[in-house]
């Protein structure tokens, strides 16, 4: 299998024309995922940039979340899921036997659709990752990591006086930001977000989007969203999935103003979805 096929070469060319020069962080080639007989992702090839926010859009059941979960091998936990193809992180095959899946998931963090803080204190939620990976030396160091992560997630001012309260006692939006803080506490290179704002109200959603803007550049971010306005607001690159296939991938402005594929245009204009 050649590392880069024609399609992606064209994409990269188009990408460079758009002006946002970006190093490639993750490469996926011909990735297919099936659940039993059902093919959920069908031969997807895509490059994920380091500095950009990449959005995956598409109608329900189009395979965008499934594909996202292959990027840190979360699909491994589903016994029926089988995936083929090649995914590289900084040139390293993440499905090769020499890749440790635990380390991979620390490098490629994940934020889920429904906020899922541990039923522990706010402090423990954030400190858990650094603790199991041995990233902090001593209590003072851990305190610093927790504070820095909460500050980056924009939650510090709201919770600094009640770090020992349960994480589940926070509001939905705060819980999701806590989950983001938990993910960035282990200092990942990529953060995958699976519809992070779909369970939140508009104000909490706005805060999450603002946060994604601030995190951009420090981490490569991939976000799956149902909400096209959200994709347009937060991302620089957009990939449109339909029926398990990657239909179109390009700069967000191009996808939303001048889509090349008919199906993308129909989806963007609300003909289906």
């Amino acid at each position: 299998m050649s590392p880069v096929n024609d399609q992606s070469l064209n994409e990269m060319a188009g990408h460079h024309q758009a002006g946002t020069a970006d190093a490639v962080k993750m490469i996926a080639r011909h990735v297919s995922v099936s659940y039993g007989d059902k093919l959920a992702v069908d031969g997807v090839s895509i490059d994920i940039g380091t500095e950009n926010v990449t959005a995956f859009i598409g109608p329900s059941g189009c395979g965008k979340s499934t594909f996202l979960r292959t990027l840190n091998r979360m699909n491994d936990t589903i016994p029926a899921a089988r995936s083929t193809g090649r995914i590289e992180l900084d040139g390293e095959d993440i499905y090769s036997p020499s890749m440790d899946v635990v380390q991979l998931r620390a490098r490629v963090g994940m934020v889920f659709q429904k906020p899922n803080p541990f039923p522990k204190s706010i402090y423990e939620n954030v400190a858990y990752g650094p603790r199991i990976h041995g990233l902090a030396r001593g209590k003072a160091d851990l305190d610093t990591v927790v504070e820095r992560s909460l500050k980056r997630a924009g939650l510090w001012e709201e919770v600094k006086d009640r770090l020992t309260d349960s994480g589940t006692a926070l509001s939905g939006g705060q819980q999701q930001r806590l989950c983001i803080a938990r993910a960035i506490a282990v200092d990942p290179e990529v953060i995958l977000m699976d519809e992070p704002a779909s369970a939140l109200d508009p104000i909490a959603t706005a805060k999450i989007e603002e946060l994604i803007h601030e995190l951009r550049g420090r981490y490569a971010i991939v976000i799956v969203t149902h909400n096209m306005q959200q994709a347009a607001r937060v991302s620089q690159r957009t990939a449109f999935f339909h029926l398990g296939k990657l239909v179109e991938y390009g700069d967000t402005s191009q996808i939303f103003t001048n889509p090349k594929a008919e199906r993308t245009k129909d989806y963007i204009t609300g003909r289906y979805g």
Binding site: N116, F118, C179, R182, A185, V186
Partner: protein, 435 residues
């Protein structure tokens, strides 16, 4: 074009009026009112049925407690009778000096304290005097002498445990006894009722005034320790493996069905299994709490596995995702998140299983724990018995003194059970608060 937008209603005669005039519902008609009344009546009926069920079970419980306490509390007391012993004038030959040295025990064993006490009782209450005293009365005298040999030099008054007949007469339970006992019981200052410390510290005996519950209590304690130490870890780890690791295939299903069936197997069959495997095959000591614990662990384990699996299953998958998503390993997910969250449920299952094991008699009869054992077990391999078996044995005794001992043993068993459950509930609440 516009036709297709009108919803097609399946109405007969729609040819004339595609959308017939809708008659407003009259909520005040007689049939409506009747429906409301019937709904209210059925709700009232259900509430009353529930209330009646609760009242019935509370009254059963109250009946049980009142009967047990009424009979059993007397089992914790003993009647004592005052007997003066004039040592210098008695036939007892015992040199106080001999009691100071290392031969004290031998000197005491050689002395006829039993005869001296009987003679003193005859001197005080007449020819039938010795019948007033418990078989173990002389032991108190011996212990008193051992404590303070100087009492041998003079006349001393002792409160000695009364015989079963006098004890029952004093407690008003034996109106048919000989008049002599009634006279003594009515005699001012001759008898008194005290807490039966021997009952709480002694082991089984043929004489109900001497029999104690401590042997069976300790046996139960040791048996439960063995059961818990085996059934809890094995049960929890089986549950974790089956829920978190086992592949879904026919073998897993088979194991699952087997464990579920095991929980329903009658307990006596576990006793036969214990007899065949632990005694005949492995040659472990008969009647030992170790074997009892092993047998009961077999019985308790499936209960813990089933409860544990349900508890683990109810931990939301999002928690596992969250931990895996920041790079926790499978073992870390299980030990840091799944087990702590499932622990309250696992503990509930353990309480049920252990309570059942504590009250179990049948399997222990099969492995010889029904033997008459007059001293508390010193360790796991010493012969012993357990509380429910002791209750069973005493309820079978001929002597009437054992009736109240049986009830008292039941009270001890229930208190043990309550203490065990209380501890488990405390632990459960503690873990629930932490999370």
């Amino acid at each position: 074009m516009s036709d297709s937008l009108v919803p097609q209603l399946p109405i007969a005669g729609g040819v004339h009026s595609p959308q017939p005039e809708r008659v407003p519902t009259d909520w005040k008609t007689g049939s409506m009112q009747g429906r409301i009344r019937r709904r209210y009546a059925s709700e009232r009926r259900f509430r009353l049925l529930g209330l009646a069920a609760i009242a019935l079970s509370v009254s059963f419980l109250a009946f049980l407690l009142v009967t047990m306490l009424g009979n059993g509390l007397r089992g914790f007391t003993e009647t004592q009778i005052r007997v003066p012993i004039d040592f210098p004038r008695s036939t007892l030959i015992l040199d106080p000096a001999a009691l100071e040295g290392i031969d004290a025990k031998a000197a005491m064993a050689g002395a006829d304290i039993d005869g001296t006490v009987a003679a003193a009782a005859s001197a005080r209450f007449g020819r039938q005097g010795p019948a007033l005293l418990s078989d173990a009365a002389w032991v108190r005298v011996r212990d008193a002498i051992a404590d303070d040999p100087s009492i041998l030099s003079g006349r001393q008054e002792f409160w000695l445990p009364a015989s079963t007949t006098l004890d029952l007469v004093k407690k008003g339970k034996a109106p048919e006894a000989k008049p002599f006992f009634h006279q003594i019981a009515a005699l001012d200052g001759a008898t008194r009722t005290r807490l039966n410390t021997n009952f709480l510290t002694g082991a089984d005996a043929t004489d109900p005034t001497v029999a104690g519950i401590w042997g069976a209590f300790k046996g139960s304690l040791l048996t439960m320790l063995v059961t818990l130490a085996l059934a809890f870890p094995i049960g929890v780890f089986s549950a974790v493996y089956l829920e978190e690791y086992a592949p879904r295939n026919r073998w897993t299903d088979l194991i699952e069905v087997s464990i579920n069936n095991l929980a329903a197997v009658p307990s006596i069959i576990f006793g036969l299994l214990g007899l065949a495997v632990f005694l005949n095959l492995m040659h472990l000591p008969r009647s030992a709490p170790l074997v009892g614990g092993l047998t009961l662990a077999l019985m308790t384990m499936p209960v813990i596995v089933i409860a544990g699996r349900n508890a683990i299953k109810s931990v939301p998958p999002s928690i596992r995702d969250a931990a895996l998503g920041i790079g926790a390993s499978r073992v870390q997910v299980v030990f840091h998140h799944v087990i702590p969250l499932a622990l309250p449920g696992i503990l509930t299952g353990t309480i049920i299983g252990m309570a059942r094991a504590l009250g179990e008699t049948a399997p222990l009869l099969m492995i010889g724990m029904r033997a008459f054992i007059a001293s508390p077990p010193g360790g796991l391999t010493d012969p012993g018995t357990v509380l429910p078996v002791q209750v069973f044995l005493w309820s079978d005794e001929v002597s009437r003194g054992f009736v109240e001992k049986t009830s008292a043993a039941i009270i001890v068993l229930l208190v043990f059970l309550l203490a065990m459950n209380g501890l488990a509930i405390y632990l459960r609440n503690k873990f629930e608060r932490r999370w």
